[in-house]
């Protein structure tokens, strides 16, 4: 990985935390207060070559920083560590027959819309399941929790896919 890509990822890390805390945390889409979790875009867009252990650790600190600012200590960090853990398997199972091309990134521009939606949707779904079931702390309000998971995943996915067209970069 070139130095340039590493810098770009570090900057993305902080920009996404800032956007999440000061903009998206204040957007309540429904009457249940579902917010878009745009910060996991960092985990989604991390280059294919990122060492798995490194992504786990950055995901932990990403979640922890979001938690400190939103007073949900442990909630976002659990969910984001979980998706950093499953990401290698998702990438593997969605990979084309002869692997991902060298010097491409997990973005719509390189991999196509369908691939990106499949890939992002699985990660977002796992994140939302972990987040809302942990927040409800059990299966008491199962129906409501499931509604939150489904609507939350849909909203987060829409914004994340849209963001790929708004911030259009190779």
């Amino acid at each position: 990985m070139s130095i340039n890509i590493i810098y770009r990822n570090i900057i993305r890390f902080f920009i996404l935390i800032f956007l999440q805390i000061f903009i998206f945390n204040n957007i309540n889409v429904t009457s249940f207060g579902i917010i878009p979790f745009v910060y996991i875009l960092y985990i989604i867009l991390s280059p294919f070559e990122t060492p798995n252990w490194l992504l786990l650790i950055t995901a932990f600190f990403l979640g922890l920083l979001i938690d400190i600012f939103s007073d949900t200590l442990g909630l976002n960090s659990s969910a984001s560590v979980l998706i950093a853990f499953i990401r290698p398997w998702i990438l593997n199972s969605l990979s084309p027959r002869d692997g991902y091309e060298v010097s491409t990134f997990p973005r719509i521009y390189y991999q196509g819309l369908v691939w990106f939606i499949k890939y992002a949707a699985i990660l977002i779904l796992f994140h939302q399941i972990a987040y809302y079931f942990l927040d409800a702390f059990g299966f008491d309000n199962l129906g409501l929790t499931l509604i939150k998971v489904i609507i939350g995943s849909f909203i987060t996915l829409s914004i994340i896919v849209l963001s790929q067209y708004i911030v259009y970069r190779k």
Binding site: F22, L56, I57, F60, I68
Partner: protein
């Protein structure tokens, strides 16, 4: 030893995952609102600074509504003063020399209502005289309790936090019980431990009991919204509509009980002795 190292190298990914997930989950589960560390909260120096800045900027857009609220509150206080003035000569009206509950005005700079455990951040801290376990009230009633303070900001456990239970009573007959949020809807809370032989109607006012050494007696909490009798025990299941609109709250007051220490010490002494 060598094999152990090999195992660690082979399974390092899984091991790191287990370690980080254990840390996260234990942070989440062991969270205790009585031992909250201000550094890991939205009331720390950095976070407080940013929230305060953004709040200042945002407040320009809602000045009109805020003025309206403050004027309504002024009106109410003016009316109250008239009543007190009238009763001044009345001997039963006792005037205390010292103020037991001084107020500190504060602004909510960060607030949530949709999580299971909701917190607020306010723009007053240790330097302004705010301490842990101070009460927070708004124009319409009780809002929460201070959990941790930094120099300039304080973290408030909102009444909308399933770990906070408040001692409350029915205003008309003084029966007391526990008010707790059920993590469902930010407009309602549950009121328990009221025996089902008492006469309770929808619309009865629920106020603070004054037992907790945090809030003075008689501060508004809400009104009874739904009355249900439980089959399994002799208590009501009451649903209370909270008087504070937690979604739009901005101006609050910190209540400091100057005699709190004395009350707590006395209660502890009594518990040790008997």
């Amino acid at each position: 030893m060598n094999t152990l190292l090999k195992v660690i190298v082979r399974f390092h990914f899984l091991l790191i995952f287990i370690i980080l997930e254990t840390i996260s989950l234990s942070l989440f589960i062991s969270e205790d609102i009585n031992k909250k560390n201000v550094v890991y909260s939205s009331a720390n120096v950095v976070s407080g600074y940013f929230y305060n800045k953004i709040n200042n900027w945002r407040s320009y857009f809602i000045l009109a509504k805020e003025n309206e609220d403050l004027r309504a509150e002024n009106l109410k206080l003016k009316n109250d003063i008239q009543i007190i003035e009238k009763n001044k000569d009345n001997k039963s009206f006792q005037k205390s020399d010292s103020l037991q509950y001084p107020y500190i005005a504060a602004k909510v700079i960060n607030n949530t209502v949709y999580k299971g455990k909701n917190y607020m951040t306010i723009d007053k801290g240790k330097l302004d005289g705010v301490d842990k376990d101070c009460g927070i009230i708004g124009n319409e009633g009780i809002v929460g309790v201070v959990a941790a303070v930094s120099n300039r900001y304080a973290l408030v456990v909102s009444l909308l936090n399933e770990r906070l239970a408040l001692s409350a009573k029915i205003k008309k007959n003084n029966y007391f019980g526990t008010l707790k949020w059920n993590a469902d809807d930010y407009r309602f809370a549950e009121f328990t431990e009221i025996p089902n032989h008492t006469n309770i109607n929808i619309g009865d006012t629920v106020v603070s009991s004054g037992f907790s050494a945090i809030f003075p007696e008689g501060i508004n909490l809400g009104v009874i919204y739904k009355v249900e009798t439980s089959e399994s025990n002799n208590f009501y299941d009451l649903k209370v509509k909270l008087s504070t609109d937690f979604k739009s709250i901005r101006n609050v007051y910190v209540i400091k009980n100057l005699q709190r220490k004395e009350q707590i010490n006395l209660e502890n002494l009594a518990e040790d002795e008997y």
